[in-house]
Symmetry: D2
Subunit: 342 residues, 4 copies
Amino acid sequence: MLVVMQSQATEEQIRAVCERIESLGYKAHPIPGSGRTAIGITGNTGTVDIASVESMPGVVECIPVSKPYKLVSRDVKEENTIVRIRTHLGDVIFGGTDVAMVAGPCAIESREQAFQIAKHVKAAGVRLFRGGAYKPRTSPYSFQGLGEPGLKILAAVREEFGLGIVTEAIDNESLDLVEQYADVIQIGARNMQNFSLLKRAGRSRKPVLLKRGMSATLDEFLMAAEYLMSEGNYNVILCERGVRTFSDYTRNTLDLSVVPAVQRRSHLPIVVDPSHGTGRRNKVLPLSRAAVAVGSNGLLVEVHHDPDHALSDGPQSILPEELEQLIREVRQIADVLGRAIN
Amino acid sequence: MLVVMQSQATEEQIRAVCERIESLGYKAHPIPGSGRTAIGITGNTGTVDIASVESMPGVVECIPVSKPYKLVSRDVKEENTIVRIRTHLGDVIFGGTDVAMVAGPCAIESREQAFQIAKHVKAAGVRLFRGGAYKPRTSPYSFQGLGEPGLKILAAVREEFGLGIVTEAIDNESLDLVEQYADVIQIGARNMQNFSLLKRAGRSRKPVLLKRGMSATLDEFLMAAEYLMSEGNYNVILCERGVRTFSDYTRNTLDLSVVPAVQRRSHLPIVVDPSHGTGRRNKVLPLSRAAVAVGSNGLLVEVHHDPDHALSDGPQSILPEELEQLIREVRQIADVLGRAIN
Amino acid sequence: MLVVMQSQATEEQIRAVCERIESLGYKAHPIPGSGRTAIGITGNTGTVDIASVESMPGVVECIPVSKPYKLVSRDVKEENTIVRIRTHLGDVIFGGTDVAMVAGPCAIESREQAFQIAKHVKAAGVRLFRGGAYKPRTSPYSFQGLGEPGLKILAAVREEFGLGIVTEAIDNESLDLVEQYADVIQIGARNMQNFSLLKRAGRSRKPVLLKRGMSATLDEFLMAAEYLMSEGNYNVILCERGVRTFSDYTRNTLDLSVVPAVQRRSHLPIVVDPSHGTGRRNKVLPLSRAAVAVGSNGLLVEVHHDPDHALSDGPQSILPEELEQLIREVRQIADVLGRAIN
Amino acid sequence: MLVVMQSQATEEQIRAVCERIESLGYKAHPIPGSGRTAIGITGNTGTVDIASVESMPGVVECIPVSKPYKLVSRDVKEENTIVRIRTHLGDVIFGGTDVAMVAGPCAIESREQAFQIAKHVKAAGVRLFRGGAYKPRTSPYSFQGLGEPGLKILAAVREEFGLGIVTEAIDNESLDLVEQYADVIQIGARNMQNFSLLKRAGRSRKPVLLKRGMSATLDEFLMAAEYLMSEGNYNVILCERGVRTFSDYTRNTLDLSVVPAVQRRSHLPIVVDPSHGTGRRNKVLPLSRAAVAVGSNGLLVEVHHDPDHALSDGPQSILPEELEQLIREVRQIADVLGRAIN
């Protein structure tokens, strides 16, 4: 259910409607737009008794929302959501005309490794650094990440280089820590339907980068974002990272069509991860160009100065010099589309 | 790495080898077989210095294990693992010649609903009752389960009808509770690679029923079980519940070939869930027959006395009278294969 | 469009309606049922002017058919279609209560090979022999079949052993020959949407065994059968042979749920090919049992006396003694379902 | 098997080696390169007796080719294959630095329709016109194309507008005609493994545009091209048009990673069809940009001036004005990559 307010509705009127909704046992989500404010109602297990809301001052109409997702829907909020990450090097904007860049190693292995890569990432003009301290690995015998010491290294990277930090949380315990250290909380593909984790992340004040699950339909992907938003976290960045198909020459099949598909249905920004999406170093550059050309709001790229000795996902990490070439090429493409790299 | 002991090796010798392994910083997993004991070594991030182990009394040889999974592998343990669930109505055996039956509603909705269905389940001769108190749902606005009150209802079902209880845990918090109330902890398909939850379940003393992820390869499925076993929980039951494909006339594509494939590679029992595997009431009966014919160690079936008003997954729940027919038919098939329903 | 005739409609009335339909530029397909005759109308590119038909003697009503397929639909013909293949060893029935068996090598390699395998096939009690003279192979450098000499060997097998012959046509030219030599024309998975070939086979007087395409949806599968029927060939046997998925431990994923799904929508018989469906010798037996248990109208199995030296698909061919065991086991399962092996 | 000739080998020496190979019962494929000529040997069912070839004048070495494909492989021919289509408006080059454009309706419906669209296509600067006279349709009741009258319309389009013609053949009969009328013979996705048709097209003198099958692996795709080349037709253009996955918001999943993957393995040009690849008008433009950015050698786009009344595939056809915008946008992207639209 969605309550549409008059464009000249006052703050008091909006607040009053929200209070009425909450008094009826539901949750109100005021969604300010450029012209008008809408108020999403969630938590309704059946039909909401809206008669008392519809007649309140400032209300235009109450419309039922037929799509399974509400808060993520462009029906509810027409303008793009802008997620702004403040870093010492300047703000990074997801959802505007710019292409936001995130780069770094798959996993944080040591202070030396992180600093060396961070130096290259900064030199390439990138302002957000990614790197996992908690790694969900298929095998219990694979390197699982450094844990909190890894987060401390990330904090030192921010301190030293001014880079913003994007890092993954894999359960409620790690989220408690990631939330303290990171600028953006990443939820990985394997946890896209870990609803308990989504609810916890939805109660965080930090933005969330949500990766599409390996075989998630578009509706499932948007519903996972709805979990985050329905708990109150509206700073959600979606991320396509390849889906599982019969195709065998790439690790996953990067589904670039999802970018315009998401942008039609939702106001949330969507970025592309060509590193996981292909699993092959030699495909990261062409698919990065394609991602920007298709309209992606950003790129998430794995970089390693010594990928052959990386503790995880070496074969898909590009070298620092390849990152520079990548930035150069995607900048040119962004440029002809009237966009800038950020 | 696997240490193979002599068939006449004593308990003391086995214990001594385990202690040596642990003193080297690894974890030892003694795996008793009918003829001999093998000891799996896990936790090795590199090469294990085995010289000191190989020369110990009672040791035949130390063999490196090339497959990514170890403890789940039939190479390590040739005999089938038998998981025995004790109920007031008698033991239910997974992994022997019998076909173990589990039936009940998708979700526990109320005491009345649970009792009514439990009565039918018991009448049909089934001794394990399934029903979710925590439901992972695609939408945050769908019924999410009753939580602990649902677990209390399940405990009351056990008290009243003598049925054993199988129910799902969705995060570490719910697992703490499920562990207290259930006889078998279920890990759902969406959480098959929730490694944090797997590790926690691996430290539980209760058997775990692990569902295959929606797009999990066989290796990923077995590796998820390896997570459970590497933490010390050897009572693992695998469950095929359909995979995601392009096919659109069933909710998922039930992959019955995985049953003989698992049985060749692993000693763990594997059961089939034709309810989620097809998502269609009218396909549960024929696919149950097929599952038993292909050699499944058991069946997990959703039953509801009023599926049209079920709070979740009504369209795939069979009616109590259909359960009786199902049991009758699979019993006949089990019979010609020299197996019994249990 | 479907014309339903009165149950007491005479032959003359039915013939008159058909003539009127054809005079309007359409094709009439009288479909006799136990109670009444229906007449399918095909070839309509738009709306049929049925006013003149609806008022003819013997007509009950004219109903538009909303499903994309008509002639294959159970809406149009409620009773199962029975496809009867006459052999010197007796009739083989597809679509009745019996389970029809077809066995033989993937490819005909020589007279000696064919005769040796035919001897075993007959000894096992099977009356239909399969073997390809034309082989669609992924590589142009692989053995492509013996062509017409292979068909002559198949004719000799029929002569010598009394077995009926099932063999594949891959284009219009080979179909002209296959039609002369075979008892059943097989259309392979790769040609399921070779509509030119389907139309040609639809004009043949010989029954057609149509294999499901590697990624065919149920509707596409039934529409391919509709191509055959719309040309006048009503003796169509469908065959599930596995679909392509991400799953990697079998060559294809055998989709047994399609059996009850087809049987609900269509009156045509459907059989299962566990050899191509799994691509693994050790899975043919369990999946054959499962196919019969799920309700398949028959089995198509590859047998070779020396699979390691077979010119094609050796790894999925079972040995003659395994065929005997297979027949024994599926007979027992058929038996408890009130069915016989045929 | 591949015979590598010395860089200074004479025409006579090359001819002599080819004759020796053919005298041994094989087929020789001389493949001129910038530095040296290689000669592919096909038709070997077992081991070739190469001793007599290896010692001939001008031969460097005979190397066995381990990959299943030979003639399509970059191992055999390092330089890109250039397929040049001559039109009255100038040559169109596939495989060079240019991006070759092909546009037109899905099906030829009438002379008026074809001419109207051709006018727009020419006005947009495109020199190759596509349009089907033979349409493989899922349903026998759908419009199947005009047949030869459609080909005559295409010939008139060439006459009137100077556009080159790309049109599909669906069987050997239609190929006989298509070959006479078209400049490029298209083989559709459903026929990618219609080996009989591939062999026939391989014997044509006209270039072939080969579409990837709906669930074809990369090896199967290249092997289908190998069928064409092994019959002597070296003018092959590959075409990605989307693969079938679980994804449901586009008709197919456009797999852009296949472009760099093909370009690493093969010297053949590869183009992208974003119309079939997405099945949605609103996705054609962004995916066209992405295809050019990823490095595609060309685009194949469906255009219709009145898509709502198109006899086939209206929902994926763009409007003439959208084609102009598309050309404008992909030209800019091509430009920054140092490429031109052609």
